[in-house]
Symmetry: C2
Subunit: 361 residues, 2 copies
DNA sequence: ATGAAAGCGCTAACAA
DNA sequence: TTGTTAGCGCTTTCAT
């Protein structure tokens, strides 16, 4: 190192990163020779290779993947925008997307926008210039995100807006809610409560019986649960049939259920926004000494593997996440190849939940 | 659509994707005008913009992100190679890496190589041409992976090989094992069994008392557990103190523990390879009617949030995954900027587990 | 074993 | 409002 200090290394690190020409100049060779050294190609004296590699290291040179990609031909690169890798639902979905994309030789760039107060729009904004297409849980930002993609394909998940010009995969919450509530009613459950997390879809403007914002799935349940007692007047029959948790976490759901049990000890069935929150409900019930499912049934939503590890095992409205991932990537594949045209009915898919009965209901 | 059928669209879709020149030619404008249309730039008649956009859609044109990146300046792009997004440990880690990378304006390309019989080396092979650096759980492939990176930074996790030329983050299993076994012995546990999964680190060649391959962490525990009964002869004192599960899953661990309880009903403490497998152990013990932790203690390894949702809550050797992610990205940052030199002691970090006592031990 | 030239597809700067 | 010119940094020929 010291012996070569006389070479013209810039005293202050240049703002611009070193290029192949900088290395070539420093080594006194042509850029092809640098290419040969960097890529371990034949036709270069090993002493030259060593010298070039050493210089490259000193100059902190990294070949530009853009220049290289430009000349060598690129892979498809897909952006995946998800709200929170810490919620087991999303990695389960991501896993399926990555698997399907990998099978096609694509790359997946993941942006978890759950940290630092970022929004789905931020994520797409960052992703858009660098990827060929985006798959994401974007909520109401989907419309604006589509603009950022300037014509490239976008698949919005859990999105059912009729006016949306991109591709979408929606979930049939009305049907899922009806299956769940029907099952619990047939069991003779009298006091069914849905634990909502209005953060995701509250922008839809649907309100619960008390006039508070509700998630999309929350409104599906609210509609069913409010109709429960036909004997009463115009006032909603079950004003407390929907409870709002403070966050999309087991801890928040646990607190909500604790408060609920305090207020309405006769609750005999709890349906949660998702499996993670159902796990919190399970904890609250266990702590309150309730026997699940005898005293109170618990139903989750998602069907993630976590449910099978809980005690009792979680009954849930399961989504086939591999199917969701496969559908998203297939949609993209069709859009990218031109086999599917945007604006046709083909780009709006609906996937159904299935009632998975395990131990908790 | 039909009215413009006479334009010279290729009858058969060309093998090569359309370029900006194809669109420009089709629209009878210059490429600059196409750029303006595609990127929503000003200085273009909106009728022209419409026409160009329409043509672009027909030709299925997508701007090359490489050409664009080349001219606009690139973000740093980091590859993240992980074995299985379905194991909650990895998304927890990935989440932290993505958060740290995002804060620096970097992109993260995730490759989950757990599907389709792919190896860590496959993952790096795919990633290498497209990223500036790689972080990964590569096991024994780390050495070969480094070659594929041709000089670009690589951070290998859970890797402690002395001869490794890249950066690495190792975990101090000897210390962790000693903390765990010491704690259980002080509790008076007599018959402590470690449930190994030799898939990951079996290549190190360490053998258990029965001569079978062991994971790195498995050997740390085997060493301690074999020394347990100093009264016996040269033959290993506790030949069954290490059990091997058939997979890195709760289900595999559950089966292993079921067999163990059959064979050694006096087992009063189980330590698992990781939290997921500990969850399986918990299920097996509950099913066998054992009271955890009274009859039998269970200790996991990882410290993922899942543990707190189990019944009883899982005691574990926790790793601060946010610290691990932060360290990996900091290492990369230093390497990329030249602030840290490869080959110095600075690139080999060690992170310690901490004994987290919750309900199960 | 090495070098020179050409061009990948795009956008910024400048003309018209 | 539109077109022209000049690269971005690299790898591929093809020469030497």
């Amino acid at each position: 190192m010291g012996s070569k200090a006389s070479r013209s290394l810039p005293a202050v690190r240049a703002a611009k990163p070193a290029t192949i020409l900088d290395v070539a100049a420093a080594a006194g060779v042509s850029r092809q020779t640098v290419t040969r050294a960097m890529n371990g190609m034949p036709g270069i004296k090993s002493s030259t290779r060593e010298r070039v590699l050493e210089l490259a290291r000193e100059l902190n040179y990294t070949p530009s993947r853009f220049a290289r990609g430009l000349v060598q031909g690129s892979h498809v690169s897909v952006g995946l925008a998800i709200p929170d890798l810490g919620n087991p639902y999303y990695p389960a979905f991501a896993s399926s997307v990555v698997e399907q994309a990998t099978a096609r030789g694509w790359h997946v760039v993941v942006d978890d926008f759950g940290h630092g107060g970022r929004s789905a729009l931020d994520a797409v904004e960052r992703l858009a210039p660098q990827v060929d297409a985006v798959i994401g849980y974007l909520g109401a930002d989907a419309d604006r995100a589509l603009v950022l993609m300037s014509g490239r394909p976008l698949v919005a998940l859990d999105f059912a807006d009729e006016g949306f010009a991109g591709a979408s995969i929606a979930f049939d919450y009305a049907r899922a809610a009806s299956a769940a509530v029907g099952y619990l009613r047939r069991q003779g459950r009298q006091r069914i409560v849905y634990i909502d997390w209005p953060g995701a879809g509250a922008s839809t403007g649907t309100l619960d019986p008390l006039g508070r914002g509700l998630s999309v799935r929350g409104s599906a349940f609210a509609a069913l649960l409010s109709d429960a007692s036909p004997g009463t007047s115009t006032q909603s029959a079950s004003p407390h049939s929907v409870v709002r948790a403070a966050g999309e976490s087991a801890a928040a759901a646990k607190e909500a259920v604790e408060a609920l049990l305090e207020r309405s000890p006769d609750t005999d069935a709890v349906i949660a926004f998702n499996d993670l929150m159902a796990a919190g409900a399970l904890k609250a019930l266990a702590q309150a000494g309730r026997n699940v499912p005898v005293d109170c049934a618990v139903l989750g939503m998602d069907g993630i593997p976590l449910g099978e590890l809980l005690t009792p095992e979680l009954s849930t409205l399961g989504l086939d996440l591999r199917e969701v991932g496969r559908t998203a990537v297939e949609l993209l594949d069709g859009l990218l190849s031109g086999a599917i045209q945007p604006g046709t009915p083909e780009v709006r898919r609906v996937i159904r939940h299935e009632l998975l009965l395990r131990g908790s209901a």
